[in-house]
Symmetry: C2
Subunit: 110 residues, 2 copies
């Protein structure tokens, strides 16, 4: 049952889990402590994230270390790409003809 990435990211707790995992892999117990969420719930969220291919597991004895699988967000990024162009066009329509193939990392701040 491969869960949709958008659906997986819709939940704030799951996004927090991913944000924590950005710093490196963690066993479930640490996530429970860091997030202040009950262990069964953390496990369930991890299951959803795994179904969306956003995390992967490394079994180490009785512990299970969960790590980020950033590649799982590529569908999201792919969907987002056309819109990113759209807003880039809006913001710098003046330099639309420039050769720069990629957008600057810090676009106009408002």
């Amino acid at each position: 049952m491969p869960t949709d990435v958008f659906e997986a990211l819709a939940d704030p707790t799951r996004r927090r889990i991913l944000d924590v995992l950005r710093a490196g892999e963690r066993p479930v117990g640490e996530l429970v402590a860091l997030l202040g969420v009950a262990q069964p719930n953390v496990s369930k969220h991890l299951r959803t994230l795994d179904a969306a291919a956003l995390v992967r597991v490394r079994v180490d004895g009785p512990r299970r270390h969960y790590a980020l699988d950033p590649a799982g967000m590529r569908p999201l990024d792919a969907w987002l790409a056309p819109y990113r162009e759209a807003w880039a066009d809006r913001l710098d329509a003046l330099e639309r003809h420039l050769d720069s193939p990629d957008a600057p990392s810090t676009p106009t701040e408002e």
Copy 2:
């Protein structure tokens, strides 16, 4: 009630609406026809998208033309940015390993 962008994008119908709007602004009636969704539901989805600042309205007599507001996706893009870096690094490393005869670590589980 400013709706969260992630929550707004979680619904497939709303993503379809946005995809249609990518081609240019549309009155509600056209969206109804193009999507095959009942008019009240389209209006409700548009309300949600508006609450998330993903669309904007141009009132023209009795019609209401909805247009994409791509800037509304910048929070999403900003949240995604760190992960994008992460997967770029990882895929790069993975590609290097793909040509190597031995695999030190096989992250993809079964």
